[in-house]
């Protein structure tokens, strides 16, 4: 059975957080956090607001001092290094361009602080602006930029100092949905060009999945699961994680190896487990037919709700007296409310974890 994994094993991590803890006036924001990030990796720190992910980022950047624990970057302990000498860049939600400086001066700011000559600064700033597709914007004021443009300038301003680590704190959450995708592409392209190690904080699971190679899920100051997006999607370590990743189907069962029984039915899974478990299956994995096909895991059901979302048709299926499941099918499949159908639960999609009585309350986005 899969075990919750919050430690990745590697010999030479680029960034290494050990036992990082921070309290704010008695309230624990981050609780003995361990995390390793490889050089050149993109890791998303994902969790609901207030889970401590921004505090973690600020501790790495050096603007918040940890109560205990160590931060190591390139085998150098950073705890005593002031932020201005860490060579770690941080991009915040609203970009935070200095309003009294032009776009060009904003981009060149970090170089100016490092005593780089004006001519060299200007040249590099213009080159950097070209990289974020804002050629010719150098003399504008930040107030003349759109939200997306401002965020690109903020990115250029951070990358110009060639940081050892790029931290992004909810960089896209203030942007429109379509602009967000464009920005995601740009960030990933710039990351590929520069090879910079990137830590991105977000509360949006879809964004974390698209942007990162690994996701670190955080709840109430603790890391719950660190894994690839696909693993977290398909094999969440508990109900909290599953719910946060958009899981909606949960029911209790008694597992006997690959045979999982509820009071009414018996299901077959690819995974071995024993004892009292909580079963989950992602709604888009359930297949719905008008006639039964496979003898295993095919259950008679009644459609009790049918909601069209544009890209999906979300069906609520009554399967047993105390079991309803959500099945999200392609919109071309249409069903009437009250219609009798067959629901097929593929054994590879059935996943379970030990039963938890009090799940962490998560609002599904």
């Amino acid at each position: 059975m899969y075990k919750c994994n919050t430690h990745s094993q590697s010999l030479m991590p680029h960034l290494h957080l050990q036992e990082l803890t921070k309290q704010f006036s008695g309230v624990t924001a981050v609780q003995s956090l361990w995390l390793e990030v490889q050089a050149g990796e993109i890791l998303a720190l994902l969790g609901p607001s207030g889970c401590g992910k921004s505090t973690t980022l600020q501790m790495i950047a050096g603007v918040v001092e940890p109560d205990s624990g160590t931060i190591t970057l390139n085998s150098q302990i950073l705890n005593r290094v002031p932020p201005e000498r860490r060579d770690i860049a941080l991009v915040l939600q609203r970009g935070l361009l200095f309003p009294h400086l032009t776009v060009g001066e904003n981009v060149a700011f970090g170089l100016k602080m490092r005593g780089v000559s004006r001519a060299e600064r200007d040249e590099k700033a213009i080159a950097m602006l070209r990289q974020v597709q804002l050629e010719g914007f150098a003399d504008r004021k930040p107030s003349e930029l759109s939200g997306g443009q401002a965020q690109r300038v903020a990115l250029a301003r951070s990358l110009i100092i060639h940081p050892k680590l790029l931290l992004l704190d909810e960089p896209l959450s203030a942007l429109d949905a379509n602009l967000r995708e464009e920005m995601q592409d740009l960030i990933l392209r710039l990351q590929a060009q520069t090879g910079v190690t990137m830590l991105i904080v977000t509360h949006d699971q879809a964004e974390a999945v698209v942007m990162s190679q690994r996701i670190a899920l955080m709840f109430e100051g603790c890391l719950r699961q660190v894994d690839t997006p696909e693993q977290i999607y398909r094999q969440p370590c508990d109900e909290t994680v599953a719910r946060f990743m958009g899981g909606v189907n949960f029911f209790a069962a008694e597992a006997h190896g690959r045979q999982w029984r509820t009071s009414d039915l018996t299901l077959f899974s690819e995974y071995d487990h024993y004892g009292s478990v909580q079963v989950t299956i992602r709604p888009e994995q359930i297949q719905v037919f008008t006639e039964g096909r496979s003898p295993q895991n095919t259950l008679p059901a009644t459609v009790i709700a049918n909601r069209f979302t544009g890209t999906q048709r979300r069906l609520t299926l009554a399967i047993a007296p105390e079991l309803t499941l959500q099945a999200w099918v392609t919109p071309t499949q249409d069903f009437r409310v009250g219609q009798s159908v067959w629901a097929y639960l593929p054994p590879s999609a059935l996943w379970c974890f030990p039963h938890r009585t009090v799940p962490y309350p998560v609002q599904v986005p």
């Binding site: 603007v63 932020p83 000498r85 200095f98 032009t102 213009i126 010719g136 951070s158």
Partner: protein, 308 residues
């Protein structure tokens, strides 16, 4: 030159505004204030000009000439008074601003009681301050007595002259005492409206504390510093009772010179007094023009080398 919006501007614009389509309503709302100030201040100034050129006169005589201005400008004291007034205003404003920036930065993270205690001179009348400074700094004042008690001075003759002195130390100290809390109050409000995340961002981009102050905090306080300088400089330049009671007897500041000429037993010197007053007003008006120019210059930044 717009007012600081402490709330996000978007909130303001998104609100449907019932009054905006009618600009005449704005002018109507402005009318009482503009009318009273225009009538009293503008009207008074116009009447003063008319009097100074002899178009109207207290005694009914009418003879238009610029003789009053000639008398005013050839007054041997005029240039010395002007430079004294400028000296006092420049030094007092400059020192007040520098001290206020420091004090505001100190108070930024201090508690309520400290900020409140530093506002203490705000409601104190200038005349009371003058009395306090006199009783404190005069040769027989409290400081002279304290130094005597410590054995540092042997008599009131040993104590340096700090009031009615040629360097106008008493005047400068009085203005510092009165204006530093006022400017600090304004700059503190300006500082608090600056998002501290800007300084954090600068630090992360590699700025040392000193670089943060020069490159982020100070430029963001720029408009606040400029506008409080304008108000304080204008006030000090035009102030009468402080240099009259605490300042040097010769030369005298421009406002004191105007007052002396106006109250001269020789009634013919009145026109000269009014002419001097108008010159004083014109100088202050020029200051406002210079201020507007300074503020608008803030928008023009150096151009980046041509984007190739």
């Amino acid at each position: 030159m717009t007012f600081v919006k402490l709330q996000p501007a978007s909130q303001h614009h998104s609100a449907p505004n019932l009054t905006q389509p009618f600009p005449w309503r704005a002018y109507l709302l402005m009318l009482p204030a503009v009318g009273i100030v225009g009538l009293l201040f503008g009207g008074g100034l116009v009447l003063a000009v008319l009097q100074s050129i002899g178009a109207i006169g207290l005694l009914g005589e009418r003879q238009i000439s610029l003789i009053a201005y000639q008398a005013a400008l050839t007054n041997p004291e005029f240039l010395r008074s002007l430079s004294l007034s400028l000296y006092i205003a420049v030094v007092a404003t400059g020192l007040s601003i520098i001290l206020s920036i420091g004090l505001a930065l100190l108070l930024r993270t201090a508690g309520r009681w400290a900020s409140f205690a530093c506002q203490i001179t705000l409601p104190i009348p200038h005349l009371v301050g003058i009395v306090g400074v006199l009783l404190l700094l005069s040769p027989s004042g409290f400081i002279a007595r304290s130094l005597y008690a410590l054995g540092w001075v042997q008599s009131d003759q040993d104590f340096p002259l700090l009031v009615n002195d040629t360097a106008n130390i008493g005047v400068l100290l009085h203005f510092l005492w009165k204006e530093v809390p006022f400017i600090t109050l304004i700059l503190l409000a300006v500082l608090r409206s600056i998002n501290p995340a800007y300084e954090m961002q600068a630090q992360i981009l590699g700025a040392t504390p000193w670089q943060r102050f020069w490159n982020v905090t100070l430029p963001m306080m720029r408009t606040g510093i400029l506008s409080s300088s304008l108000i304080v400089f204008g006030y000090i330049f035009a102030s009468f009772e402080v240099p009259f009671l605490l300042g040097s007897t010769r030369p005298r500041t421009l406002p004191v010179l105007v007052y002396r000429a106006f109250t001269d037993s020789d009634i013919t010197r009145r026109a000269e007094a009014i002419a001097l007053g108008i010159i004083l007003s014109v100088l202050s008006l020029l200051m406002i023009v210079a201020y507007s120019w300074l503020v608008s210059r803030g928008g023009q930044k150096r151009q980046f080398t041509k984007d190739a």
